[in-house]
Symmetry: C2
Subunit: 124 residues, 2 copies
């Protein structure tokens, strides 16, 4: 039952909850996006994403210089049920709503820059 405890430990951090929450709203995000939306340092964003990766919560997909992450839970799996439950819990949370809004803003600001290829990140 140690693994199960470890699984919950992966959810026992506010930043990681926020990341999962964002990935439920937007299929795929790069480290850069997470940094921007959550307003955290690169090292922090990357660390937590790797953490979630190693626990099997997310997949990574390289796209040139960017590393994109997306949820990797199989439909119907306990993990997926856990995420749905998490979404339900956070759904009523104003703070979570605000995050979703900031994500929208962030993403539209990104595409706004016309050259969609080079649009990318003026990360910093």
């Amino acid at each position: 039952m140690k693994n199960e405890a470890r699984l919950f430990k992966s959810l026992a951090d506010e930043t990681r909850l926020k990341i999962l929450w964002l990935l439920m709203a937007q299929e795929e995000l790069c480290v850069c996006d997470i940094m921007g939306v959550l307003g955290i340092t690169q090292s922090k964003a990357s660390r937590h994403l790797r953490y979630l990766y190693h626990l099997g919560w997310v997949n990574d997909r390289r796209e040139g210089v960017w590393m994109n992450y997306r949820l990797s839970v199989a439909p119907g799996s306990p993990a997926e049920k856990q995420l749905r439950l998490l979404a339900e819990i956070l759904g009523s949370h104003p703070e979570a709503q605000a995050l979703k809004d900031r994500l929208e803003q962030w993403l539209s600001a990104k595409t706004e820059t016309k050259d969609s290829a080079a649009a990318a990140c003026q990360c910093s």
Copy 2:
């Protein structure tokens, strides 16, 4: 969202998972039972139970010298759904099954001692 993280943190410990698991199998247990079934020290059992109590997972009920604990999640609440999911996750786990068996043994050994009032705990 800090509270949600704290909630998951309360599940991020093997001993606490085991305690919740036992309380799903048996409505009410005293500290003494937890110690016996899990084979842990009194201080460890008591501390984790108080932890779960303060997080709202369990209720306490004094019965003379004994302190009995039972789950306190409202049906239909997110907490209850979380517990059901936990049960589902642990259901397939041999280690969890073994725990249930030990609980059965423990409880029957307890009632075996005919004088049901004084039966109680030869705790130690």
